[in-house]
Amino acid sequence: MQNIVMLRLLLVLLLVLGPPILLAPGGAAAQSDETPVVWRAGDDPGWSQPDLDTGDWQALAHFAGAQDGRFWIRARLDAPGLERPVLSIRSNAAYEVFLDGQRLGGSGRPGVPGNRALPELVRVGVPASLLDPGRHVLAFRMDGASLVDGDSAFLRFRLDDAAELARADRRRDAMDGAAALLAGFLLLTAAGIWIWGTRRVELVMVVGLCAGAILIFLLDTDGRAFATPLLPRFAAAILLTLASAAIYALTAAIIHRRLGLGRPRFWAVLAGMCLVVALLPLPFVGMEGDQRAFILLALLAVGMSLSAWPRRRLQAAVYAGAALVCLVAILLFSGQLRIFLALLVVLISVSMIVDVVMGEINMRRAELRASRLQAALVKRNIQPHFIMNSLTVAMELQETDAAAARDFIRALSEEFRALASMIDKPRVTLREELDLCRSHLAMMALRLEAQLTLETSGLDEAAECPPGLFHTLIENAISHNRYQGQSVTLTLSASRERTDLTYSLRAPLLGPRVTARPGSGSGTRYIEARLEEFAPGRWTFSSAPEGDVWVSRVRIVGGLA
């Protein structure tokens, strides 16, 4: 019940927080993506001047690196006449930035040995007087010794109005807050179920996934945590790296587990290779490493789904669909990884939590059903008609034929012993079941003063079956026929057709006008419940007369697992 309430809360939260996450606007496209940017190796302070001829400069897309790490970048800037212009710059390398030859600011100290800049968003206020409406030149003096040929994604910049930028920051903070809250709720839900419910490793995975997502939502807002940094830059960078790696690994592991795929090492190596490929600076892919990593992760999920398709079509379809949705999200929202991340975390966590909760519910139902069936088996054998008549027979024989009384009590005790040995088992061997049947027949033969025998053919006595299955069929045959004083042979046979296994019990129809027949009583309900527990959805049971015998057939589709 507790889990169901949590699920409902989760759904409500999803409905409330989902739209803001999905609809929150991302940052506007970086102006560096729209403006022709050129570069040149070397270092000349004059290259900051606006009227420089850049005919021999190369497009940044063909960045080849510089021998000593020193180079310049120039870009045209169309000033739209902003009231309070702010230049936002994100770079993996140290730089100084100039507008029309006038230095605005920078990150790190280009040219100083050992200086390395961490990726960071820097906002530089630009005096409005420098930005008359019209065309201007932005120049960067760079020190990027560690940059690799072909990787042009190390520098991004854009120009905004300060007021508009503040509004965008607020929207982004709201989105990150909502996403972190949602991830936090999922984390607490998974942790709560793990603490108070079932201790499944999938829940720990969900906790790790959500924790990683929360770190990213809170710390990785273009290098800032909300309006002010929550942690020192270096610590935040390490945490973000760890969080990204954890999310990547856990997502792959969860999908692998949920799809029930084998060969964990193969998939682990493949996932690792995807990550390495994603983080390698590739000259022909113009996107950042984390973006590439998640795209490859989505493709990996599609690959896993296809691999699982022959065995788990529904789950494979769900995961492939979810991966494709995420893929589309990351491509459509060009670099807005938080949307992708939010989708990923929600889809995987909800799927996992629902699966665990439903698994728990189903397990409890199965336990309850098994308990009821155990109780039913006991009840069937201590029901008044059986037990009181047996005791009456024992009393009569004890008063009239002591030897027969001893035989009867021995047969009765053997039946109860056989019954007691299987009462708490969900399945028993056919040998155990036949022992119970023969004990019952021996005891009933004394009660009915009849000869009752069971013949078998084609049975694999080591095979398993539900406890009390054939015992119940035999009991029904005896109670619905008139075998008193007769010599009766019941036959139990097994036959196989392709992979299906069919047991048939044949009982002679004796008695002039027997009205009640097996088929709808408590015995039949017990048999059906036991078969459902034994081979869920893979069985049929029929019971009908065929000439002068009553035939009960139990068919296990696909045979014994």
Binding site: P384, H385, T392, V393, E396, R482, V514
Partner: protein, 235 residues
């Protein structure tokens, strides 16, 4: 001495033999013909001969319901003693007007007590009938005792007068019906049983003769031996 014929309806031969053995022992020289049958139809067939005064009935007969026999036989003159494993069915059985309910497993003494009750030598069970069954062609009609005003003897049968004025003939004699009737009825004469809450007054006649006046206007004679008990009702 009149002999008592007993029909044993039991589907297990050893149990049936035990019932028969103990019945014979309890009846002694009064034991007449004792037959054993193992199913509903066979029991009904035997009962229709009218040869049996007592039926020892099991309630589970090859999966058939012994109450099917009971429904049809309580309209007969024979008395019924249930011998069953289902003690929880006792109340329902007494509603049908059975004389006694013996639960399995049973000792000889318990069968003997039931036989004594049948012969009127032991106190009847406190449980009483709530219905009377009447044969109506092939059907058996059950009438609640709440509808019954009085019962009067008619040779070996009994006439049952209902509140709506209908009179039904029952196969049991008034002597066999009397032990089944609840305390709300009183046998005021060897041939009359009246419902006490229908009594309006007591009339006396010359020669120390008395009669109860019922609300329906009927008059029921009162035995001289019972007049003191009847008078006590009016005090």
């Amino acid at each position: 001495m009149s002999r008592i014929n007993v029909l044993i309806v039991e589907d297990e031969p050893v149990v049936a033999r035990r019932v028969e053995r103990h019945c014979r022992a309890a009846l002694g020289e009064a034991a007449g013909r004792i037959e054993r049958v193992d199913g509903v139809e066979a029991a009904v067939g035997q009962l229709q001969t009218g040869a049996f005064g007592l039926v020892m009935l099991d309630l589970n007969l090859h999966g058939e319901d012994g109450f099917d026999v009971l429904d049809r036989m309580t309209s007969h003159s024979a008395h019924t003693i249930i011998v069953s494993a289902y003690a929880d069915q006792a109340a329902r059985a007494f509603d049908h007007g059975v004389l006694d309910f013996v639960t399995k497993p049973f000792e000889a003494e318990r069968i003997a007590l039931a036989i004594e009750r049948y012969r009127g030598k032991a106190a009847a069970r406190p449980e009483k009938a709530r219905y009377l069954s009447f044969r109506s062609g092939r059907r058996v009609e059950r009438v609640s005792l709440d509808e019954v005003i009085l019962v009067r003897g008619a040779d070996k049968y009994a006439e049952v007068v209902l509140g709506d004025g209908r009179v039904k003939l029952h196969d049991k004699s008034i002597g066999k019906i009397a032990p089944l009737m609840p305390d709300s009825f009183m046998r005021v004469h060897k041939s009359w049983i009246v419902r006490l809450d229908c009594v309006e007054g007591l009339e006396s006649f010359p020669g120390n003769r008395h009669a109860l006046v019922l609300k329906t206007g009927e008059r029921a004679p009162v035995s001289r031996s019972l007049i003191s008990q009847v008078r006590a009702l009016f005090q």
